[in-house]
Symmetry: C2
Subunit: 372 residues, 2 copies
């Protein structure tokens, strides 16, 4: 079995671990030499994911093609499908992760609970929608980029200057953020992971707690069912991450969709029977999916932002806790950059949090206080 | 951090998984293009492990060098050490895994319990030692090769015809075989895994049960302590596997030593907090070692011998059990060849065994009955 992956970031790198275990050959289209996944996938080519010829070359002889990111142009995905390539997730699903405007429209049709939203083309539109609000480019944003919090009309300037299509959404009064991860195989089989709590700072995921503490059982069940329904209705193949708000009045609203292994699922590597990366690989190849059960009462993930140049020195401290599981992406240290993460698990949530935060702090020169 | 590995078999391949997770760069000297580990380690060179120039080239710029097998000539390891390379395990330790005669002498000096043994140079020597017995080449044997069971003088012919140095050992009347795995870091830190029960057929490991069922607590503790002491006294760096007999009269005797990740430790990938492969990599780089605790009451490993050409078809059946963890080495199917293994874990040992055997059987065309 041979699987092509487009994009050489850490998600592709982390797909390579279960792919190696399962004996699945990978081919990678990397954006530059030496990027994260190119360090661990021998059969890689450097090329542009916007170049149909590069895409066509990498998928030749592969059972399927999947993605490290959602930026491949939809028309290229359709072109590959027309050639008979198994594009997973396919363009008809992926477009809802690529375009927040289409996503909101489709989720509205499905009756999925969303923040109030509208496409806006002018400051007057935003004022009519209601300020304060959030405005976002419908395409291309990630990790807080392409998102503006609007507290006065002046805050809209950058967004409209960008020339992008802009979506306005109500400012949700939320208690916390949650994430519901599901895997859907090319066979149609769907499995769901326990709903997790996520801590985002400036639009960047910092910590994840699995399962989400004190989430009412009926809300947990409804949220898993919602994510499964979205995956099926949208025809997703692979991992679907549904990022959610839990509002102060107890409602669950869909914030974002991602159709690939997701930062809010990194805990599964050490905390679930089957990691999201393994289930993504199994799903896109149409293999049976693995169990999603937790392997401990609590699992915590803490991201490492920034990084260090002396990894061995960092590990002297971070791995002094013998039960910490460290993950490093092979990326150069840079302020605010996601360069790794730490997983811990156990019976005591506070202990897991303390240990994971301590280990993650040892793996970066970046203070947690300064940039929060 | 960069680590060189000599030998491109499945042990090197399985070291690559935790190395990728930890952000450790690997360089591989592979014996041929496309071998198991070369499929997952981009920085590989094809060369001969008996060629000092090839060894010297691969270790340049690496923090340490370690091994997929024990066949690198001792004089080359000394030459690398003389150049300042961190050879782990070093030649002064590794020689006891390479040469069973030296191993028996050294273990005797340490007072480690061993079967009665003697170097023999003629059939008369063997008769004087006592028939029945086992005779073995002191160097180069593995998986039952280079081992002869002597029930009459005629059974010695092949051994002496080989021209190799031959060790005779008493035929041990054993209840079962056990294995004690420890990791020793370059810093001197030692950790031990729970002692496991192993089922060998014709000298080839078939199944492993962790922990060894019904092993008396004091025997378990003494056996772990014995393995830790051997690792320390011999100056092992990395994983040491001590294969043992539990005799019908309740004694523990050392059978073999291996100084690398070992088939009897594959269960740790899915059943321990830290896998033997991760601890090997951490040990040889002088990093702190990870916890060796079991993650379930029972863990079972079953080897896949022989294999299949249609892996996807095999996975349809093997992975229909969503909690089975399958491992495949990327090797071509061949009768009796180790091509993969399956791990299962849970509260019920019989259930784990049944599930692992069923999944392993689905991954090979080789019947378990025919070749036992």
């Amino acid at each position: 079995m041979t699987l092509a992956i487009i994009g050489g970031g850490q998600l592709a790198r982390m797909m390579a671990e279960p792919a190696a275990a399962l004996g699945i050959d990978l081919r990678l289209l990397a954006e530059a030499p030496g990027v994260s996944a190119a360090q661990v996938i021998p059969a890689h080519t450097v090329g542009d994911y916007r170049d149909l010829d590069a895409l066509t070359a990498i998928v030749a002889g592969c059972e399927a093609v999947t993605f490290d990111h959602e930026h491949v142009p939809t028309e290229h995905l359709h072109a590959l499908e027309a050639m008979g390539v198994a594009v997973r997730p396919g363009p008809d699903a992926l477009v809802y992760a690529q375009d927040k405007g289409l996503m909101r429209t489709r989720l509205g049709q499905l009756g999925a609970p969303c923040p109030r939203n509208a496409i806006v083309t002018s400051v007057a539109d935003v004022e009519a929608f209601g300020i304060p609000c959030v405005i976002k480019t419908t395409r291309g944003g990630y990790d807080g980029k392409g998102v503006w919090f609007v507290r006065s009309a002046a805050d809209c300037a950058d967004a409209f200057a960008s020339g992008a299509t802009i979506l306005a959404e109500e400012l949700v009064d939320f208690r916390r953020e949650l994430s519901a991860l599901v895997a859907r195989s090319a066979t149609g089989e769907v499995v769901s992971y326990p709903v997790v709590e996520t801590l985002q700072v400036d639009g960047v995921c910092r910590e994840v707690i699995a399962p989400a503490p004190d989430l009412a059982a009926d809300v947990e069940a409804e949220t898993e069912a919602l994510a499964r329904r979205i995956a099926t209705e949208l025809g997703v193949v692979g991992i679907l991450a549904v990022e959610l708000f839990e509002t102060t009045d107890g409602r669950i609203l869909v914030n974002e969709l991602a159709m690939r292994p997701h930062n809010t699922g990194h805990w599964t590597q050490d905390g679930a029977v089957t990691s999201q990366f393994e289930n993504h690989v199994r799903a896109v190849l149409g293999l049976p999916l693995g169990a999603t059960d937790l392997r401990a009462p609590y699992v915590v993930m803490v991201n490492v932002l920034g990084g260090v140049s002396d990894l061995a020195g960092a590990y002297e401290k971070a791995l002094a806790d013998p039960s910490v599981k460290a993950h490093w992406y092979g990326k150069e240290a840079r302020p605010g950059r996601k360069v790794g993460h730490v997983n811990t698990y156990g019976d005591d949530l506070e202990d897991c949090l303390t240990r994971a935060r301590r280990a993650a702090a040892a793996m970066t020169t970046e203070g947690m206080e300064g940039d929060a």
